[in-house]
């Protein structure tokens, strides 16, 4: 339905795209890695040129990318609707802060406890604890199907916020607590210690975190992409399409559900640590239902099931309100905080809401599906007329496998 609706819109441009790409396919194959490499070089060189604002936004985006990829494995690939992502983010962020933070402080902070271990330990333990939380929740998740799971996981978010509000020695309670700087083997990711200049540009906290963000996001991306191409990845996709079919094929349904929860919440844990680092403090309101919903927005906009799509969606959803805020005085309709009218955060939310509806109605594959459609049109027309066999779709076009073949079996199994 949605395909037929939007196809005529793209049809006008269609002849140009395949004509250009089809004959030049082998150079195109070389071109893609080159483009990626160039993109990476630009990213690496960026701190030399751009302002601190963009670098900070970049690190926030990197954190969101990690989280979105994790949620996408769960929701997009395996089809387990989860609204609990904010809870797992919180587990990671709080564990990191508690393990690497300092005990005590002035005034109300006197009650705070911390283990004062090296930050890298805090990060690793934070990720592991988030994974553990996911593993503990997975028996519940394994019993619940579809929408029941979605609402049960909603409960987890509220319980998480309650714990954050009340467990003051660890979480800082209602006011939250500040997050210790990250450091790795004596190299601090703070403003100094050691002072660092590259080509005359001072490398302070923002620049250092920028590189940390690139490394972590890239690692998260590659891990997820390889996971999806491997045997477990195929098993997870079968699980989404039909649990019965999966178990007939020899996939241990419960075990795989538990594992995907483990992996997804570990991603969330790392994302939580990065979020804490980027903001510099944690508070209960940072891990409410809104956050879970925004993560869901990211993966829907990016395209369910596509790793690159999740990254794109995360960048869009995270950067948009920040950019709106930065350029509030230039943009029409958006006003600076404090003035009347629509402020940046609200404007961004309208856009997300609208974008979600439009994507689900007209392009269920999201941004990734949009990109794929142009890419695959040439191939499809070259190979065979009609729909082509979905199983022959190349591994890289993971989101075409999401949109096309998965839907009919999902319908069939849900009506009973």
């Amino acid at each position: 339905m949605s395909d037929t609706l939007s196809a005529p819109a793209g049809a006008g441009r269609a002849p140009a795209a395949p004509a250009g790409s089809a004959p030049r396919r082998s150079p195109a194959r070389l071109l893609t890695p080159l483009l990626l490499l160039a993109f990476l070089v630009v990213l690496l060189a960026l701190p030399l040129y751009v302002e601190e604002f963009w670098l900070r936004t970049g690190f926030a985006v990197a954190g969101a990318i990690v989280g979105a990829i994790g949620l996408n494995l769960l929701v997009g690939t395996t089809g387990q609707l989860s609204l609990a992502h904010a809870f797992f983010l919180a587990v990671g962020a709080v564990s990191y802060t508690f393990i690497s933070g300092e005990s005590g402080g002035l005034g109300t902070r006197a009650a705070l406890r911390g283990l004062e271990l090296p930050p890298i330990v805090g990060m690793v333990v934070g990720v592991l604890l988030a994974g553990l939380a996911g593993l503990v929740f997975s028996p519940i998740a394994a019993r619940l199907r579809g929408i029941y799971l979605g609402v049960a996981s909603l409960g987890l978010v509220f319980i998480g916020v309650h714990v954050l509000n009340t467990w003051t020695p660890v979480t800082g309670g209602f006011n939250g607590r500040s997050v210790p700087e990250f450091s790795l083997f004596g190299f601090s990711f703070g403003n100094d210690d050691p002072q660092l200049f590259v080509l005359g540009v001072p490398f302070r906290e923002a620049e250092r975190l920028w590189y940390l963000g690139i490394v972590l996001a890239l690692a998260a991306y590659l891990f997820a992409r390889n996971l999806l191409r491997s045997r477990p990845g195929r098993a997870l996709q079968t699980l989404r399409d039909s649990e019965v079919a999966a178990s007939v094929m020899g996939v241990n349904v419960q075990a795989y559900k538990a594992r995907v929860f483990l992996v997804s919440s570990m991603y969330a844990g790392l994302s939580g640590v990065m979020y804490a680092l980027s903001i510099g403090s944690i508070a209960p309101e940072s891990f409410g239902l809104t956050v879970s919903i925004l993560y869901l927005a990211m993966i829907v906009l990016g395209g369910l099931g596509s790793v690159a799509g999740a990254a794109l969606g995360a960048a869009f959803v995270t950067a948009l309100p920040l950019v709106f805020q930065q350029f509030a005085d230039v943009l029409p309709l958006v006003s600076a905080p404090g003035e009347g009218g629509i402020n940046a955060g609200i404007a961004a939310r309208y856009l997300f809401g609208l974008a979600i509806i439009i994507v689900v109605l007209f392009e269920p594959g999201g941004l990734a599906g949009f990109a794929n459609r142009f890419r695959s049109r040439g191939r499809r027309s070259a190979r065979a007329p009609g729909r082509g066999s979905p199983s022959a779709a190349p591994a890289s076009a993971s989101s075409t496998t999401v949109t096309d073949p998965s839907d009919p079996p999902a319908q069939g199994s849900s009506t009973r």
């Binding site: 609707l81 929408i147 049960a152 009340t166 649990e243 319908q411 199994s413």
Partner: protein
């Protein structure tokens, strides 16, 4: 003992309000297979409209308009979005309602701002005592109205042609369609009914002992989710039981806060979710939900 009875009564009255919301939730699910995350903001829309208009129009006309506005909003959501996605996976449908919810909620919160809008209920904020057990008049009336509405709903569901059509299409959509039941109309009507129920619930939810309409009403409305899930998403009777159970749990947990202090302040707000998770562990489809069977 008096305290317990008082908490119980207040819990039941709160539960009656939750049951109204949960009922709307369940009929939407039965009619169009959608879990509507829009419900919280629809409820807030009703409350906001009533609060804004009651100064100029007077209370009862404002209530009428509020109910109407909410029903129309629910209808529009169904017509323009849900109806176009017939047959889409359940997750996509849930996500699209989240999208609607984001827009509607953002706009409402922007309109309400940090204020608390007061709804001038004619019965005010007084409370009455029944044999030593105190309850606010608002809640007492809520219980009565909810009772009447719920009975009316169940009668309509059982005997009216709409009720029969809806039960038929919930049972087997294709067969119902072949018998000449218009699925689109059934689904649209279900959304309208759910909107009405939500607006009525909103009317009482923002009365005493709650201070008035604020963004917090949305969080309260969300607690109808556990009510619906607990009873079983496709069981109207379950919604009723779930609503009462959640209401009583919340009232008791809030009332015995001192005794439960090891669980932290404000545990009453979380207790519904804890109960829901425990129930789901024992019965994965809720108390009265249909078990999902898989045939190969």
């Amino acid at each position: 003992m008096t305290q317990f009875l008082s908490l119980l009564l207040n819990g039941i009255s709160l539960g009656a309000i939750y049951a109204l919301i949960a009922l709307g939730f369940v009929i939407i699910f039965k009619a169009s297979e959608v879990v509507s995350f829009t419900h919280g903001s629809l409820l807030l829309l009703g409350a906001y409209t009533i609060a804004r208009l009651s100064d100029t129009l007077g209370f009862f006309p404002a209530v009428l308009v509020g109910v109407l506005v909410t029903a129309v909003a629910a209808f529009l959501v169904e017509r323009f979005i849900i109806n176009r996605l017939r047959g889409a996976p359940v997750i996509s449908l849930a996500i699209v309602t989240i999208g609607v919810d984001i827009i509607l909620l953002t706009e409402l919160i922007r309109q309400i701002g940090p204020d608390i809008l007061n709804v001038p209920h004619p019965w005010g904020g007084d409370s009455v005592r029944i044999g030593g057990v105190g309850i606010s008049e608002n809640r007492l009336i809520a219980m009565g109205v909810a009772g009447v509405l719920i009975i009316a709903f169940f009668v309509a569901f059982k005997y009216s042609s709409w009720g029969v059509a809806m039960r038929a299409s919930a049972e087997d959509g294709e067969a119902a369609a072949l018998m000449g039941i218009r699925q689109g109309r059934v689904s649209a009507l279900a959304w309208v009914v759910a909107g009405v129920l939500a607006a009525v619930a909103a009317l009482f939810l923002v009365g005493a002992p709650t201070p008035g309409v604020s963004a917090a009403a949305y969080t309260v409305a969300l607690r109808a989710f556990p009510a619906a899930i607990l009873g079983g998403l496709d069981s109207t009777g379950g919604a009723l039981v779930g609503g009462l159970l959640i209401g009583i749990t919340e009232a008791l947990a809030a009332g015995y806060q001192e005794q439960l202090s090891f669980l932290g302040r404000g545990f009453g707000e979380v207790a519904p979710y804890v109960v829901m998770i425990i129930v789901l562990l024992v019965r994965p489809s809720g108390l009265f939900g249909t078990k999902e069977l898989t045939r190969v």
